[in-house]
Subunit: 345 residues, 2 copies
């Protein structure tokens, strides 16, 4: 039985869901993978930090957080900022799920870099670092004999990156196409059912899918960041979100919606990237799709990606109704794949 | 650069497509994986055999076969049967694509077993050995430090088994559901467009999808073998095809078809397996599906599989319009994954 020390940088919805999943899967990890874990460090934005090389009781941490408390009852050391925390946290694996700036990928890029340099596997739920520092972080990981992984960055825990990078060896991907932003997918569905944009946004906010400021979803920016991440990793063509041609859903009028309904079609915010005469084209734009399209049935918060390759004409992955645990699962899978690649001695 | 010796047991459509794919991907294999190959042995049913430890020119072999000839012009040794051929073929990897008996998995099971015992990776395009000898062959491979792989056995080259076994660690699959037999899917589509069963079967035969004797497709047997293979590997519950509750498409009447057309629905031969109070249920049966179902849009020879798991509520894979090269690709991927797991010294 090999024991791994885990550190959580960020302990919001995703971090907490990962903690619960780790506890729930503890026996599976022991039986199927011969591994156990202790949590030696947690950094939160408003609840304080934990650093304790013997590990803390994760159930107690979750209980404290669930009841609205902070982490003051748990052992720690005097830590003034995240850099210090990273230096102090004696862990094998860092799980990062903090808010990032998508224009720069910061501050996550710096923290992931530090973790890799200190010999930790860096597991990130963020797409920001992927679009801004994929190659850099991957090379750094290789140099230090560890892994940089980010399965949850696009399509939650669906194994998109595992699939494209490991299950499809020697493939050339010509084109990708899909629905990658679940908020707009849900909003368009509700508009088509008769709600106004405002009502649909309010509903998406009420179930915790849309942000208080929903512009990043509505104007296609979130989808563009995901397209850029997929281009960078799956097409092997580094692309910044700013380079993705982008049109959100705000231009769709009630008349457009009515026309779609009448013709039995649906509006979808479609993401696409493809090679054209050696040039990479990438865009996000609303499209009308009919029942024959595989995009048609992708409803609610589901998402979808089709890869067109030189050997598989069309391989489609659909992620049905994901939740926070789905995202957490992507991080767990990253952890298991990372330690499989680099077994601890 | 590491060189692998390859042997082809069976050189029909799939074997030839794999040979062409290997030639086409030669540069990719060198550049991305640092590997080259020679073909040291080929066994065919009617065109003779090749055994030559220096390797034969694969382009010339393909040319001879394409022009309807046999392999007599290539070097070989006196070989009277496949067992002798297997003993003589000095290879690192066996690609097996011969006809098998689905009631027993033979003769492929015996040949795969021999190859594994002789230290070859055994890459099979057959589902027969999976349902009849998965555990045995897997354990044998482990004992000999090689791999038994069979990605092409279900859904052609779509990475179903890679996905379920490697990209989804620590997952518990509760249920699987999908369309796994492309012949009946195409036939039902054409019947719904107005053809009789006989016309649709004739068409499927004319494009090389249906066998001369199409009963194995029409009565659901082929689909049942695939369900059994998925249960065995993905659900971890060994199941024989005979244990799959089975209803083919022959009971669908013109009135059924007319009713589907009128209501905007479609008939699909749906495969399903799930756990119910600790008991595994598996069945193949025609179902009416509407446009809201992800099964609705799976047309032509495409196929689809949805996994319901404890952490991902619904993960769907769709393989669009596969061809022989898609099947060949599954074998190439198996080869690359096998040598990645066990790099040659």
């Amino acid at each position: 039985m090999i024991s791994y020390k885990l550190a959580f940088l960020g302990f919001g919805n995703v971090g907490q869901a990962l903690a619960r999943l780790l506890l729930r899967k503890m026996e599976t990890l022991q039986n199927r993978y011969g591994l156990t874990f202790t949590v030696t460090a947690i950094a939160t934005s408003r609840r304080g930090n934990v650093v304790h090389s013997q590990g803390v009781d994760l159930s107690q941490v979750l209980h404290a957080v669930d009841s609205g408390g902070n982490l003051a009852q748990f052992p720690t050391r005097p830590i003034s900022d995240t850099v210090e925390w990273l230096h102090a946290c004696d862990a094998d694996v860092l799980f990062e799920s903090i808010p990032v700036n998508y224009e720069t990928g910061q501050p996550a890029v710096n923290y992931l870099e530090m973790a890799l340099r200190r010999g930790m596997h860096a597991i990130s739920a963020n797409k920001g670092p992927v679009v801004h520092a994929y190659r850099h972080l991957t090379e750094l990981a290789q140099a230090h004999g560890v892994e940089y992984r980010f399965e949850s960055a696009v399509m939650d825990g669906a194994p998109i990156f595992s699939l494209a990078r490991e299950a499809l060896p020697a493939v050339d991907v010509h084109r990708l196409r899909g629905i990658l932003n679940s908020t707009t997918n849900l909003i368009l569905e509700r508009m088509q059912a008769g709600e106004t944009l405002e009502e649909a946004v309010a509903y998406a906010q009420s179930i915790g899918i849309a942000e208080t400021d929903p512009r990043g979803d509505l104007d296609g920016w979130d989808a563009a960041v995901k397209v850029a991440a997929l281009c960078t990793v799956v097409l092997g063509a580094p692309l910044k979100p700013q380079q993705v041609e982008r049109q959100g859903i705000l231009g769709i009028t009630p008349a457009d919606i009515a026309r779609a309904r009448q013709s039995g079609q649906r509006w979808k915010l479609v993401c696409e990237a493809y090679w054209e005469n050696g040039v990479l084209r990438a865009r996000v734009a609303p499209s009308l799709v009919g029942p024959e399209s595989p995009l048609f049935g992708v409803q609610g918060t589901s998402s979808m990606l089709t890869l067109e390759t030189d050997v598989l004409p069309g391989l489609t992955i659909i992620e049905g109704n994901p939740g926070t645990e789905t995202t957490a699962y992507g991080m767990l899978a990253d952890f298991l794949n990372a330690v499989k690649m680099h077994p601890k001695r």
